[in-house]
Subunit: 376 residues, 4 copies
């Protein structure tokens, strides 16, 4: 459905050929400074057309706050936001439309909803993510003021080219501890902070572009300075909410927290994160962080980090042998130029969804803490 | 929190040392045959103590239906279920309790809730999963009658020993198409259907047991005969609900659907699942299934399959260097014998959580279909 | 919070001095004819300034659909709707603002949110109801196609002047059976279908207008042709959802279903609704309808009817002795002309909220029916 | 459905002839003293058979906490509670069962669920309220520690005999300010604190008992010492949540807050509650309280009070002319002795549902306050 979150809630609307896309963000605390300038930067990072690595369409995507603020401050009421669509005309159906595009949502949307829309897969259009990113920017602003929470996503893999993501690798831990959005963006549109692999990634993408093909990748995200205690066992563990959020992003195929899939090969004696007393922060910390900052579904004060794989873009301009809705065999090729790798563009979307999960988890936990203090 | 699902909902209660554990299942359709005999088998598969591969504790775990049925038929009212705990006495705290066990939930539960409990990590106790499995058995019975939905989970990796999980591998596809619970259980407690690796997995586990250590693994799950159209974009895509469910299982560290993490290396031209008209089922199907049976967040009628990594068990009997809650350095070793690999026991829990997601998704979708037919 | 409904959900935004007000309606079935023309009539009925009985402000309130439709048909995706505000400038605070207006939400909003807004009571502004009415119009269209559901609200009391609302009164039952919106509107802005009291009501309102005072009233609503089986015991009984909806309307002070408050004086032998077999509809019906069409929280196929009292408008132009936020005693009088009775304007809002409850209840029940048929 | 609340949540199960009835309460703060002794008193007040005014059945209703506490303190995990049913055998169907009892839920349950159960109306059985009362007792304990919140319900009307409930009546305001449960119970089973009418009420009930008939009544409830700021506009206004809760109680037919239905006759100049600065509490208060302690959907610090009408009991032992399920005309009379007025027994149920609404509202508001303080 189109709402996400319990206390800090976003509800989105919009397809690619309607008048506008947007969202309503409910639960934003009152008295917070907020203007379009807080939201536009992440929307702009989300935009296609930023470089030759991505598609040349140039969307403007100017966000307009409709409600919930006055004189640059939030009122505590819902924040309505909208972004106009450039192309607001639904198109007439042509021969192309007789084909469900392979690995798009055309077929399943038609089966589920029984109607064809100009956007094909309806809400699976990438423009649906605009509302998420706008809402996430507000969540981030709140988290920043909470405890200087930092959320930074970056590309760690394109095709077979990957950064080392082993939690026991010192260099990877250094990246998790220090990476900033400025650093990520300084690497150019590839958004991989490891200069030793970033260039290979660019080459990898160019190779597939040349073949009129596409290639997937992995986005890794780290969250620093998160309070201890977030997450609501047993069903709404923090990692469960993050996984839900990440798998709701178009083209994502998975999620792993901390040591993830590779970690199953590490024996308990190495995988366990032993405690030590940290003189600087005056509290227990863990020497390693295979857990990814969450234990028993609850944040433990270490960096939370996770990775999300994005499949190769389904839209390719080489010919594909497939079938029409009517079951006739045929050949389909996308017209125009297409982005061979959407992975770098997923970076701000991953950040936004993480921020939404965290802002919600903070609000829940703070009511828990309050109640605990009342009765004990 | 302790509820999962919107229309087919389970709410669970219970820790390891209270009187009982159990659940309330709401939204079960009326008029369905249901007795304890429908539920006990999966609870028994969940039990520890089934072989030398797992811990020798022998719990009885007899489920007792409290409400919602009469003369062996459901009434449409909530099904209350309970399982008595064998050891109902909370223990007094001893020296062991001054240590938060590394990579357990002891530390985070204490930080979040401010109280120590006999179960240490409170609801992170494995006994919490009893309510899930009992509820899942009811969901499965409904799904079976819906369209003979089959849900089968099995072990595909222990430590470094793994079955091929490549979606483009014919043998793996054959397993997905044919695997049954009977086949899984016939392999003994390892629950890996591939006899060529099952034995190595047993050896791997024994090796870690000998070292007083533990090792992780991966559970893969396939769902067959699922209707087209399940899943609610944009936030409650079917894979997002599955990911949420799986990451809520204790010790799980990730989720991947279809081609998952490895799939990012497969170019779009190969990764796309081309359509063809299937004469047998008289409908469009896909030649390959890299998508894992879900496109645009909606089931497409192909097998849904996904994998979940489980970390190495945190409880090991070898000494670990760690710290007390007070920050003093010390050495901790678990007493008694401990299960070196919990992965095989996760099999029925994965099946149960999948069933709960699907039953809920079916109820949502069927109301959508009804409404669509009314207006168009 | 700003969302209502589980399957058929509306989320609203907007205050009186922001750029626009609007809503997102999620769960609208695909393939339904829908344009602004379906929505505008109820919005226009909601508008102030329709006659000398109500305030002379003339708002335009033109609704603009943003998403979710194409070529006049719904897509099954969220319907975004917006209505521009005429006065989009928040005002600077003046002396008036040092007073919390008595029985407005100024004080409680300031206490809860800690900020003053131009609309004073923030979301308690009457403009917040625009989103509800727009969403309700869509719900109604669905219900009409479901089973020709008719929802008609009307004024049954202004001050001490009232229509007989006794369920055992034949004339009242006739009104419930036959009243239409056309009939209601034909009575002029008073919206009371009983010509014998409508004129007295108008006089009553004029009397209070002359006194620079205001007066309350009661809106009664009937729902005809509703299917049997709606409502979800035990907490979401149909009357409980209706009560929730009605008490969320600004200025409402209560709710009663069927015989309501007066019915407690009717002994069981008379209050019970005996069954009989109706030859025309070929099913059991009840001879009387003290129950108000709901028994055990579930619709029984008879007319559902309920009443909602609306308090006297808090804004009056006569002087009131009160205090400033700082606690200083003072005298406050609203400037300009003000509506002495908001009750008639509540009519389309009551209808809209009823429609939203019912559309949601239908979607839930239809999934229940489907599941029941599968298993039994 | 069977869950109520967002953060302080109760889920109930059980009919009248199953093994047990009970509930799971989620969101109870950890570290709170809690044993069965905190819960039993309200369950005992709910029990029938307390006097000749109510039915002579004597249920034991001993609550047993299953989980969530240790050594008399809550753990922060769900509290499972159960009460055994005395009569756990579903009965075989007899001639009586061919009649849907008039104004019971037999007919609608059969229509909705398609199955007959021994309890007839399934979850509409009064035993369903046991879980509510048990959960409410926990909510109350939390609210007591929050700010000494006091919730007292009492009978203000039986048939035509009523206490003055006019908010502008000094005597009624005195009752609201001072009434205690001890005072209510000291009046005997009639639970009306006004000795001038209590005796007449008893006579009224006896009159209907003599006629083998029944009579309805009104329960009024006051909540004192509630913090300012509770309630979540625009859809979850505090009165909307209370109305939802009250209309979910079996046999309730309405709800009014503050001046309610009668208040519509009071002009704004009198109905508005003017502010004054209260020297004692050092804050703004209102001179009158027609609002019922809630303005704009948010508690304002004055007493919250509301009334709920309960219809005449549907079960009467005099003969009623009605029809069988098959549509044949016939005569039905309940066997045995029956309670002619259930209104007094509703008192602890009203208190419990109010407590559940308030505990939930407190948890939501405290997270809002926290967030507000963070950003401003």
């Amino acid at each position: 459905m189109s709402s996400f979150g319990r206390f800090f809630t976003v509800t989105t609307y919009g397809e690619s050929h309607c008048k506008s896309v947007g969202c309503i963000v409910d639960g934003v605390p009152p008295g917070m400074s907020l203007t379009e300038d807080d939201i536009q930067p992440q929307l702009s990072r989300r935009r296609p057309g930023q470089s030759k690595l991505s598609t040349p369409r140039n969307e403007k995507d100017k966000v307009m706050i409709q409600s919930g603020t006055e004189f640059g401050k939030t009122l505590g009421t819902p924040i309505g936001m909208m972004v106009l669509n450039e192309d607001q005309r639904p198109h007439d159906y042509n021969e192309m439309d007789s084909y469900p595009r392979p690995s798009h949502a055309d077929f399943t949307y038609l089966e589920k909803y029984g109607v064809k829309s100009s956007s094909g897969g309806g809400r699976s259009s990438a423009r649906e993510t605009i509302g998420r990113v706008a809402a996430g920017a507000i969540a981030e602003k709140f988290l920043k003021q909470l405890s200087n929470v930092e959320i930074v996503a970056f590309v760690t893999q394109v095709g077979a080219i990957k950064m080392n993501r082993d939690p026991l690798d010192a260099k990877f831990q250094h990246v998790l501890n220090t990476i900033t959005r400025e650093k990520v963006d300084s690497m150019g549109p590839i958004r991989c902070p490891d200069s030793s692999v970033a260039e290979s990634m660019v080459h990898e993408i160019e190779k597939y572009r040349g073949n009129k093909d596409s290639i997937g990748g992995v986005v890794t995200c780290v969250i620093r300075n998160l309070p201890v205690g977030l997450g609501e066992p047993c069903f709404d563990k923090l990692e469960a909410m993050l996984a839900h959020a990440m798998l709701s992003i178009p083209a994502s195929k998975g999620f792993e927290i901390g040591s993830g899939f590779e970690g199953v090969q590490v024996p308990g004696s190495q995988h366990n994160d032993p405690f030590y007393y940290d003189e600087e922060s005056k509290r227990l910390r863990t020497k390693t962080n295979n857990s990814g900052g969450i234990q028993g579904g609850i944040s433990n004060g270490e960096n939370v980090y996770f990775s999300v794989p994005f499949k190769s873009a389904a839209t390719i301009s080489q010919e594909q042998s497939t079938a029409t809705y009517d079951g006739e065999h045929g050949v389909l090729a996308a017209k125009g130029r297409h982005d061979p790798s959407v992975t770098p563009r997923a970076v701000p979307i991953v950040e936004a969804m993480a921020a939404l999960v965290l802002a919600d988890a903070v609000l829940v936990q703070k009511s828990r803490e309050f109640a605990k203090n009342i009765v004990s």
